[in-house]
Symmetry: C2
Subunit: 329 residues, 2 copies
DNA sequence: CTGTTAGCGCCTTCAG
DNA sequence: CTGAAGGCGCTAACAG
């Protein structure tokens, strides 16, 4: 590996000049810039990130904080989409990325975590699936020591932004479609974990629908759990016309229960994960593009890292009526 | 963030002494070691990885090279298991990890890739799902510039190891079980992509079985593709007693086809992914513990990074007869 | 516009 | 066993 020194010698200039030329500083003449670039090509020079980060105090490293829930292994798809979206746009933006699972942080205090990040040269954090009760992350955000982008959580300040779809509206529309199609008058709603931010928004959406359409509505906490959804469906489904679930996994659980009970009720899910196709389920769902959401998050991170100020972003969400489709087509 | 200097001052010793104490050098007295540790605690000192890496020329960073195939989104589970296993043991071993997708390397030459890794301070690479034809990775390994652990690929040299299950034996056993249970006399085998290393080993396994049991055997390239498996099943299944697939995804494809054809043939899969349960399929599969495999890979990487020499590791594989289980249990 | 000079935070000989 | 000094590769004032 050749260093900046070699380039300088080869180009017949000083190291600092090379540095400036490479980092796009304005005060470098056309000629020298060309000379430097030639030397770089010839030597196949690639700047040492570690050194550059140490020296400039700008590592440009961002941590992807994701919450792997090992309980329901079926949602890997979402996490992979998140990862893949974030990483690919990080490459474009020449940002370094480390993946960190929530479980690695468990039991550590906020300052321990902060120190850990600092010591790793991490300046930005993208948080996926943060809970409402998560005091530690909450505080990490409040400290404002890191640029943060929170996905699906409406927390913002000078240095943190949020990226999310409009969950309330999405829940409203997908539920509305299902109810209308089936002329339902009563709805059993299986909600997410009560400490999730999205849970509240989606609840608001279904409540608005119930209000507007004069539906009778029973809300039960399904905790995003397939199992729990199944149990709740067994208990309450017979008394309601339509079942609306705050996640696909719960919808699958509800479907399973209905099959066993041998009664029919229209069910609607939410995320639109591929699994649904494999499970052979047919229902309406919002079609979330998790990859895109994550790309946006990283995009926003890039802005923040370059000194942009935090703010809230709400990208347009899109609802695609999803029918049962054989995955093979 | 306090630096090593602060610690030195607080402990009343020189920076170099702190460094030695912290890095477990032998020539430091018991007392000073204690003093240093106290100072570290009090100041909540966390060494700066970037600086330490730059200075020592040992970054301890390892890249996870994974091959996300966006075509069949159903195998995210495996990749997530890989990631999660590798990352969690990397944390234990205090190794820094970056996740890199194959797609990010496409079109780049070997030396470009090598430079990229070097510039990132990457010393080790764990390769998941490398193909046989992959000249670039092949050469990267041959260069011996990086410590490498190849998962499921039997490539080794002084600085690269391999971690894998015994695919031949596994294929043999799972197929054997299925054939015996159904008293089959002929087998349709849907193999994986021809350039995959594991494909050959599994083929050898099924061939051995056919030989030993005197089965008639038809082998077709299924390319690990659900769609292709489906087509092949349509074409050939009726003439054979049992269908053996080199991957779960293909097994699902085969099952789908059989359902549509409305004929019954026992099918056996391979990996044992969770999806099978959701798809409502019942069949024998090897139960691979991808997480564990990845943990072993990282373990081995740790060894290599500490100067251990490369060699081949074949952990014991375990076969668990997997029945159809409702995921809710 | 270009070169000189300090560091960034840590590790590592080499004297003491 | 401990401390002083040099340097890893690069950036960032500051002079020229």
């Amino acid at each position: 590996m050749s260093s900046i020194k070699d380039v300088a010698r080869r180009a017949g200039v000083a190291v600092s000049t090379v540095s400036k030329a490479l980092n796009g500083y304005p005060n470098v003449s056309r000629e020298t810039r060309v000379k430097v670039n030639e030397a770089v090509k010839e030597l196949n020079f690639t700047p040492n990130l570690l050194a550059s980060a140490l020296s400039s105090k700008k590592a440009g490293r961002v941590a992807l904080l994701i919450n792997l829930n090992m309980d329901s292994q079926a949602v890997d798809e979402i996490d992979m989409q998140y990862l893949s979206g974030a990483i690919s746009t990080a490459v474009e933006k020449r940002l370094d990325v480390v993946t960190i699972f929530f479980s690695m942080l468990r039991g550590r205090s906020v300052s321990e975590i902060a120190d850990y990040f600092h010591s790793q040269g991490i300046e930005g954090i993208i948080i996926y699936g943060m809970g409402k009760e998560d005091r530690v992350l909450q505080e990490l955000i409040e400290r404002k020591e890191f640029r943060i982008v929170a996905v699906d959580v409406p927390v913002v300040n000078e240095v943190t932004s949020s990226v999310q779809i409009d969950h309330g509206q999405a829940q409203y529309e997908v539920a509305r479609k299902t109810v209308m199609e089936n002329r339902g008058k009563s709805v059993l709603y299986l909600s997410g974990r009560p400490d999730g931010y999205v849970t509240q928004e989606r609840l608001a959406g279904i409540r608005r629908l119930a209000m507007e359409e004069g539906l009778s509505l029973l809300i039960k906490e399904g905790d995003f759990s397939e199992k729990k959804a199944r149990e709740l469906t067994f208990r309450y489904a017979s008394g309601y016309d339509v079942i609306v679930c705050a996640s696909d996994l719960m919808a699958i659980g509800a479907m399973r229960a209905l099959q066993e009970m041998d009664i029919f009720r229209p069910v609607c899910g939410f995320d639109g994960i591929t699994l649904m196709c494999y499970a052979g389920m047919q229902m309406n769902t919002v079609r979330q593009d998790f990859r895109r959401i994550s790309e946006l998050a990283m995009q926003e991170m890039g802005r923040l890292l370059e000194g942009g100020s935090g703010r809230r972003i709400v990208p347009e969400y899109q609802i695609i009526r999803m029918q049962y489709q054989d995955v093979l087509n």
